[in-house]
């Protein structure tokens, strides 16, 4: 379980400030807990949780503060990444952040009444939206900050002092990668101001977790970052296993590492394919996407599903590798290498590619850290933060691989870092397969993993065991814990609160796409419209993970 540092709500801001100065200058997540139905009595009904990482990236701290009144001072003046995170807490729990620059709903729509993550909100109570938010108010405030409009005495805004055109990019737009909406004010082709709206794919993951057992949640995790489902599975079960205090077998660890890297490849190829299409390089799509089909074939043979694998279980995984897996994997890797090689031969010395990507969509390392960007997007700025090196798990320290970093933090770097990471992942996979330990893939503990099928069909104990575990779920000890891994888009974490039952009391996802997207409007202001499309593609925003 994570060690929790307590702070009072009055001193919280200054407490976080001191921590920031001590080197905890990377904000991972902010969330709240509604204790109204918790097993033990707590100081207050609501508590806020802040998770910070140290600048060495090696450790993190969890700070908790109970709220007497449902309000607290914002920390957006310390972390810009806090802006959207606080809006989410406001939206889901109704906690007010004083002095927040733009405290509006973010995931739920503007006609929504109530705060869905409060325990008192019924899970199935849906509310229709009749008219989409026009975002004009937000845009005006943004224009105001740039002195393009002024505030009139009547409280309304003046006309622009420039001839601007307003345009919606998304949420249904071929280059909006799913369901992301950005409202831009254009001066010719140049973006003067941009505001993004998310939440179009908010599917209530966190609320759904509160009425499913731990293993039932695994299919939901598949659909967070659906381009690399298995890495979400692993991050979730790893956090639960840490709470249970179980260690999975060496074989299971090695298989998880191999699959994590395979998912990374799977995700990067689709991101790269898409970003190259956005640039007009359609041919690359076929070269990059075809190996993904081969990975699908391999994974469906192993897990039964192409995309939404649900392969992991608390304490292990559904089944061991099949006979002949290794040969199949080798074939797949060969095809991935071929696809990468062909694509690189098309773009590496291609003038158009270089002109379109270099010094486009730049974010500095300092800003990226302040926005809590992570993964390849952060590494593209030259920050070598990689959980696999900085806080290794599953024996990553045993494998030889490099952390690929960029230097400028532009589209070019983000694309090339991903190409580089595919190579590194292949290296890791090869090392894992060379020394794959023997043994079981699931821990032998009746209270965690299901018994063998023979036992279920032939013995009463086996049948009872299966029944109880399926219906009641794996019982996780009371406590609060944050666990994370280096997923394809960066640090993917889960903050879980357990009340001792088989169903989590609360689950919060620390989603890498969420923070990356919060930096996006600033990144594209001043850029050309066509470059904004590339910038979005190169950030690899996955709506399922961002909106949850």
């Amino acid at each position: 379980m994570s060690e929790i540092i307590k702070a009072t709500s009055i001193e919280l801001h200054s407490f976080i400030k001191t921590k920031y100065e001590e080197g905890f200058n990377y904000l991972l997540d902010i969330t709240a807990i509604d204790y109204s139905e918790y097993v033990t009595a707590n100081e207050e009904q609501f508590a806020l949780v802040y998770i910070l990482r140290h600048e060495s990236f090696k450790e993190h701290i969890v700070i908790k503060t109970y709220l007497k009144k449902l309000e607290i001072e914002t920390i957006t003046d310390i972390f810009r990444g806090a802006d959207w995170l606080e809006r989410e807490v406001y939206d889901q729990y109704g906690i007010i952040f004083k002095k927040h620059p733009n405290l509006r709903r973010i995931l739920n729509h503007k006609e929504f009444v109530g705060h869905p993550l409060r325990k008192s909100y019924p899970i199935t109570k849906g509310q229709l939206l009749h008219e989409v938010d026009d975002l004009i108010e937000e845009m005006n405030n943004r224009l105001l900050s740039k002195n393009v409009v002024c505030k009139l005495e009547s409280g309304t805004f003046s006309d622009c002092n420039k001839d601007l055109m307003f345009l919606n990019l998304g949420p249904s737009h071929p280059a909006s990668h799913g369901t992301i909406r950005t409202y831009v004010a254009l001066d010719g082709e140049t973006i003067e101001c941009a505001v993004s709206e998310i939440g179009y794919l908010h599917r209530g993951f966190e609320k759904s977790c509160e009425n499913h057992t731990y293993n039932q949640i695994i299919p939901y995790t598949d659909r967070l970052n659906y381009c690399s489902a298995i890495s979400n599975n692993i991050s979730f079960v790893k956090t639960v296993e840490e709470m249970l205090g179980v260690e999975i077998s060496e074989r299971a660890q090695a298989i998880r590492v191999m699959l994590l890297e395979l998912s990374r490849i799977e995700d990067h190829v689709v991101c790269l394919a898409a970003v190259l299409v956005d640039m007009g390089g359609l041919t690359n799509y076929w070269y990059m996407y075809n190996p993904r089909e081969d990975i699908y074939d391999l994974l469906s043979k192993l897990t039964g599903a192409r995309l939404t694998n649900s392969y992991m279980r608390v304490g292990g995984m559904t089944n061991d590798l099949y006979e002949g897996f290794e040969e199949d994997l080798k074939e797949v890797i060969k095809k991935v290498k071929y696809g990468v090689e062909q694509t690189l031969s098309l773009i590496k010395h291609n003038r158009i590619f270089h002109d379109r990507t270099q010094n486009v969509g730049v974010i500095s390392a300092e800003n990226a850290l302040n926005y809590a960007m992570t993964g390849p997007n952060l590494r593209a700025c030259g920050v070598a933060f990689d959980m696999r090196k900085d806080a290794p798990y599953y024996g990553y320290e045993k494998y030889e691989f490099d952390v690929v970093v960029g230097s400028v933090g532009d589209v070019y770097d983000r694309v090339m870092v991903r190409f580089g990471e595919i190579d590194e992942s292949i290296k890791i996979i090869e090392q894992v397969m060379q020394n794959l330990p023997e043994g079981e893939v699931c821990v032998k503990d009746n209270s965690i993993t299901l018994p063998k099928k023979e036992a279920v069909y032939t013995t009463i104990e086996g049948a009872m065991n299966q029944f109880k575990l399926t219906f009641e779920g794996v019982k996780v000890p009371i406590g609060e814990h944050y666990g994370s891994i280096e997923a394809t888009n960066g640090e993917l974490g889960f903050f879980i609160v357990s009340d001792g039952s088989g169903i989590p009391y609360k689950v919060k996802v620390k989603a890498p796409s969420f923070t990356a997207m919060s930096a996006y409007p600033e990144m594209v202001e001043g850029a050309q419209l066509a470059d904004a499309i590339l910038t979005l593609g190169s950030l690899n925003i996955i709506a399922g993970e961002m909106d949850r």
């Binding site: 939206l129 008219e131 689709v270 089909e293 995309l307």
Partner: protein, 170 residues
């Protein structure tokens, strides 16, 4: 070929309906309303292994005004619903709708405060494809079924006349 070649003196007789049905069948222009995981499977349908263009429906348009087949691939949340309705209304007649995946068909396993329990609460649907996500073959199967029905003129142009969705007239 010579203009006076006897082989040109061939005439095909058909009924107008059938000629139109044939034309429609072979020139579907899909518009993808892809929101989530199912849209990733649609990418496979469009890529070279499954290759939707083999069935004469590859001119994927992202502008509803140029399309006559709406494929809704992915979860539609309440926040997304008015947009879906607007897109549907922007398409000109005749038009058809395929609902791809459990979420679009029924809300899937997102039975919670965020998700519309099936897009047919908002717009009329002609074909439902189950699965979470459906395999590419399943979507192609739906497409073939639609084409078959178009050929035989099964679709009554007035079939959705009485349709009233939850966002209509409010």
């Amino acid at each position: 070929m010579e203009l006076n070649s006897p082989s040109l003196e061939v005439a095909i007789t058909t009924k107008l309906d059938e000629a139109i049905g044939w034309a429609r069948e072979s020139s579907l222009w899909p518009m993808i309303f892809g929101t989530a995981c199912c849209a990733i499977e649609f990418m496979s349908v469009a890529a070279s292994k499954y290759d939707i263009s083999r069935f004469g429906a590859e001119v994927v348009r992202f502008s509803p005004r140029q399309a006559d087949l709406l494929i809704v691939a992915g979860t539609i949340t309440y926040k997304q619903a008015p947009i879906l309705k607007q897109i549907y209304e922007q398409m000109s007649e005749p038009k058809w709708v395929i609902s791809m995946g459990a979420c679009a068909c029924s809300g899937g396993f997102y039975d919670n405060y965020t998700t519309l329990q099936g897009i047919d609460e908002i717009i009329p649907v002609d074909l439902y494809v189950g699965g979470c996500p459906p395999r590419p073959e399943a979507l192609i199967d739906a497409l073939l079924k639609l084409q078959n029905d178009l050929r035989t003129n099964k679709y009554n142009p007035n079939r959705h006349e009485g349709f009233k969705g939850r966002l209509d007239n409010v």
